[in-house]
Symmetry: C2
């Protein structure tokens, strides 16, 4: 399914209206069914539905590894992904916790490293110039794909290049789709960098922490809770990376001058 | 609780790092408890929590009117709002449907007017110039309050002025908070206009349709599903309203030239 759609619209100015054609981003309701239990319906862009579904389940702690997955069936016309793990019983319990929604998360996640169980200990260092170059590549790529306005982008990177790139109407989906692809294609995420076009809130921070991401970068702003969690979890959080400037909100020691 | 927080950060350029102070937006996990049932935890800006909770419950169809509410208790330090309706039994049922999440919504809402039960029949017309003026006021107001980057704004308007204004880290919350305030303060929403800084996706469209909003305006883009629903539901959807230009995606007959 195309991720954009052409529409007839009216362009309106003070002088009046004109017929025109515009391209809008598509939005698909995607229902994820885990072991025959209808789990959730995400509103998302209609691409990489298998990656998105698996990434979402992994973000929610419902799938731990690729080996746990017995079968994935994608119906992209109806917007349904079925994932089978053959571990019915276990998932019923987890499912119930999940279903009581953000509540459990609210209680446990926000106390600190409970969310991920471990602090990021990576000693990797990145020259500031490499960050600027990476974000430049990210913006170029987003710009090429973004004909329509309303999408968020995310990328998995090493210190030199973009490894995976994803766009979605939701900033959470864009990141989940990347982690789903990592899981299904056995792409490691340790010591990697995530770039997002969106705000870095606590949920985004916890998503990347679960995958041992070392550095998270945004062109946009973090929230105070995002910063506090990044600080606690040993993650380097960079915001407002624009041109040759950025703000380092936590663990800035990983960002070094060139040649150092 | 303040909606922003000052932090010590490092500003990084090619030349090196400097200590600096930055202001970030606060993010609060807000748990909504309806009739002693923990319903959901929203991540939101820490203002107008009573309005946000009531707006959320109303958007989800769990509260129909102000009269249904017996008591609201806000604990803004712990991030908890308790709403009591005295209708335990009924809400248990609705709660269960809700808890199976977007699924039910996915199935029913996207078939069309089911979501709201009625098409917007309002014959109101608005000069294009008034739309440009309103959005100018909205942007000015957002700009004044937006010191931190990461927030969305929403406003309830008549054709001439902003009646209610809300900012939040989530575009859904910003709109729900406005509708919560409308409900608690008996402010009518029929024949009103909603302006949002965010993308108009199907969920946003359905939120406003439930309140008989006639025109929805964004500086940003709609999705194809947002446009289709607006078309079906008789709502005028205006996107990319910038300066003296805009795109009319549906029911553009309500936008007229000045003096007509």
């Amino acid at each position: 399914m195309d991720s954009v759609k052409a529409l007839s619209i009216k362009r309106v100015t003070e002088e009046g209206k004109k017929e025109a054609e515009d391209t809008v981003t598509r939005e698909l309701p995607l229902t994820i069914i885990l072991n025959n239990q209808e789990l959730v319906t995400l509103l998302c862009s209609p691409t990489g539905l298998n990656y998105l579904a698996v990434g979402f389940l992994s973000s929610e702690g419902l799938i731990k590894s690729k080996d746990a997955i017995k079968k994935i069936t994608v119906d992209d016309q109806r917007g349904v992904v079925r994932v089978e793990t053959g571990e019915d019983k276990e998932f019923v319990d987890i499912f119930k916790r999940f279903i009581t929604s953000g509540c459990g998360r609210g209680a446990s996640f926000y106390s600190a490293t409970d969310a991920t169980g471990q602090k990021i200990e990576s000693q990797m260092e990145v020259p500031a110039q490499d960050v600027f170059t990476l974000v430049g590549k990210f913006q170029h790529r987003s710009h090429v794909f973004r004909t329509t306005g309303g999408v968020h982008s995310a990328a998995l990177c090493d210190t030199k290049s973009i490894l995976l790139f994803s766009e979605d109407i939701g900033r959470h989906n864009a990141i989940d789709r990347i982690f789903g692809e990592c899981l299904l294609r056995n792409i490691p995420t340790d010591d990697r960098i995530i770039i997002t076009s969106g705000r870095i809130s606590s949920e985004i921070l916890l998503k990347v922490a679960r995958r041992n991401i070392t550095i998270i970068i945004s062109k946009s702003a973090p929230t105070d809770l995002g910063v506090r969690l990044a600080d606690d979890l040993g993650i380097t959080l960079l915001g407002f990376v624009r041109g040759k400037r950025m703000n380092a909100y936590s663990n800035d020691w990983r960002i070094v001058r060139d040649g150092k």
